[in-house]
């Protein structure tokens, strides 16, 4: 029976890697996740054949079945019901659950040692403790990331001496964990303090990070959870967990790097200094010009008689659920012979590819969707750049003002289009709180209102021209 389980784990690990590989192409992606899903089910079923599961009576087995049923049911219902726009925070929460599970596995093993059980080797204890730290930080950190994206926490919070407190927490949990793991002498009280420290550190670590940086943070926590799972896999001598966890740990780290590269900010900058802390000179700067308002019918006429329109969606589009209306606008414009292209900034929305997913949901072909490098040279030849719900990613300050916190971030050159129409709900600054000079430019006109409603009016406007 043990051999059979080993074989199943071996196959599962291989299928996970193949599945991940298939997920990296749009053609095979769906097949990839289904394969991985089958591997997961088989591995779970096979684990019921493991005698360890039955080593302490039937009550444990009943609890296992109960926990699987309840956990799956909750996740199934929430994942089915959630709007596509809220997906990023759901990924954050499911990821946090994985981290929490890894930390809880470590907790069970460490509690056993604390209760006087036979101490495993130092390597096992060290990895169990490391996995506990990483998993717990990912758990509480992801919960904060969820709360921020869900709008439960709106402000970036900073205590006085925040960095100092974090450093103390970090050193404290490492020292306490290290002493317990190396000495092999685990005191229940210390264990409790240890887990409290790790959870608090996860919260304190995530609180000062701005919402705009959340994609990078979620990706980082995803990688961390993978790492924690890999370490607990070693503790439990489970090769499938070791391999799957480490594959996710490595790929997640790469993904995190790609994202912070797209924002042109070193990862350390994102994690250890929030946007707000770097302002001062940039915020005080005078903005030249004034914002000019435009009405939807006029904007519709500009677009209807253009030869090329580039649409730049941002998080605001996701919030307004405007993607379906955009698809309609694209259709009516194309019917008039207007060339419509979409420009997606790598960090538009709250995850890389967030916009692409929403546009695909609305049935917009992905050959109309362009990356930053591909579309930027085209702006000067476009009559209209339509910005909907994007802000920082089109702020020319990133090119011109070295004092600005976003200086150096590659942006979409909407200001270089002949005309720029910005759909915006109100007059406030963007997520980062930085004034957007694009809005004050001579060739920019502001269309104030809810994204979905305004696009609807644009559609009506274009249609009325016959």
């Amino acid at each position: 029976m043990d051999l059979l389980i080993e074989i199943v784990y071996f196959i599962s690990a291989a299928v996970f890697i193949i599945g991940l590989k298939q997920m990296s192409s749009p053609v095979t992606a769906r097949q990839g996740i289904v394969w991985a899903g089958v591997a997961m089910v088989i591995a779970t079923v096979a684990t019921f054949g493991d005698p360890v599961v039955y080593s302490h009576g039937s009550i444990n087995v009943i609890l296992i079945v109960l926990a699987i049923l309840v956990g799956s049911a909750i996740a199934y219902v929430t994942a089915k019901r959630v709007e596509m726009t809220d997906m990023p925070q759901m990924i954050a929460i499911y990821n946090g659950m994985g981290g929490g599970a890894a930390a809880a596995i470590a907790a069970v093993e460490l509690v056993k040692v604390a209760a006087g059980g036979a101490a495993p080797g130092t390597t096992v204890l060290v990895l169990a403790t490391l996995g506990a730290i990483i998993g717990a930080v990912s758990f509480s950190g992801s919960a904060i990331a969820f709360a921020k994206l869900q709008g439960l926490i709106n402000k970036t919070m900073r205590l006085p001496m925040h960095m100092m407190i974090n450093l103390l927490l970090f050193v404290g949990m490492l020292a306490l964990g290290g002493i317990m793991a190396i000495s092999g002498d685990i005191n229940p009280t210390y264990l409790l303090i240890f887990f409290a420290l790790t959870l608090i550190f996860g919260i304190m670590f995530t609180l000062p990070i701005g919402g705009a940086d959340m994609p990078v943070v979620i990706s980082l926590f995803n990688a961390l959870t993978g790492l924690a799972v890999a370490f607990e896999g070693f503790v439990l001598q489970n090769a499938a967990m070791m391999i799957a966890g480490m594959v996710v740990g490595a790929s997640g780290t790469l993904l995190t790097q790609l994202m912070s590269k797209a924002m042109n900010r070193p990862i350390s900058n994102i994690l250890f200094s929030s946007f707000g802390s770097a302002d001062g000179s940039a915020a005080d700067e005078e903005v030249e010009g004034s914002m000019k308002e435009v009405q939807a019918p006029d904007a519709a006429i500009m677009m209807a008689y253009a030869s090329k329109v580039i649409i730049i969606p941002g998080y605001g589009m996701a919030v307004a659920q405007a993607q379906h209306k955009l698809a309609e606008l694209t259709k009516v414009l194309e019917a008039r012979g207007v060339e419509v292209k979409y420009a997606i900034h790598p960090v538009a929305g709250r995850m890389p590819g967030h916009m692409n997913v929403l546009l695909a949901e609305a049935g917009i072909d992905y050959d109309k969707i362009y990356d930053l490098e591909d579309i930027n040279p085209e702006f000067p030849s476009a009559e209209v750049a339509l910005v909907i719900g994007a802000n920082d990613v089109v702020n020319p300050v990133a090119r011109s003002n070295p004092d600005s916190p976003i200086y150096g971030m590659p942006i979409l050159d909407a200001d270089r289009a002949q005309n720029c129409i910005v759909i915006k709900r109100g007059r406030g600054a963007g997520f980062s709180g930085i004034e957007n000079h694009l809005f004050y430019a001579d060739n920019t006109q502001m269309l104030y209102g809810d994204g979905q409603k305004m696009i609807g009016e644009l559609v009506a406007g274009v249609k009325s021209l016959g």
């Binding site: 609890l63 699987i68 956990g71 069970v108």
Partner: protein, 95 residues
């Protein structure tokens, strides 16, 4: 038993594999892929089952129960989220 250096070799090879598999992914698939890899670390559920299986005291059983609950949520939630996102990329019939 997987010990010392054997474990290190497994970790190293798995890490390079993860790095290679991801490095050729188009940007449009980044979110589904993050979600997919989020699902894959849901394999933690088998570890959680073992942890709860050999839990002895009520405290251990309670923690083990939480472990399985969270892990199952990770796996199922990650799967559904990924499938829903990838469905968007399916060529629509009649289009």
């Amino acid at each position: 038993m997987i010990e010392g250096f054997t474990a290190l070799y497994i970790f190293m090879l798995a890490a390079f594999t993860g790095y290679e598999v991801i490095s050729r992914v188009p940007v449009i698939l980044h979110t589904p892929l993050m979600s997919g890899s989020n699902f894959i670390h849901g394999i933690v559920v088998v570890g959680a089952m073992v942890a709860l299986g050999h839990a002895e005291t009520p405290v251990e059983m309670a923690i083990g129960f939480v472990a399985v609950l969270l892990a199952a949520g990770n796996a199922v939630g990650g799967y559904i989220a990924t499938v829903r996102m990838l469905e968007m990329f399916q060529p629509k019939k009649g289009d």
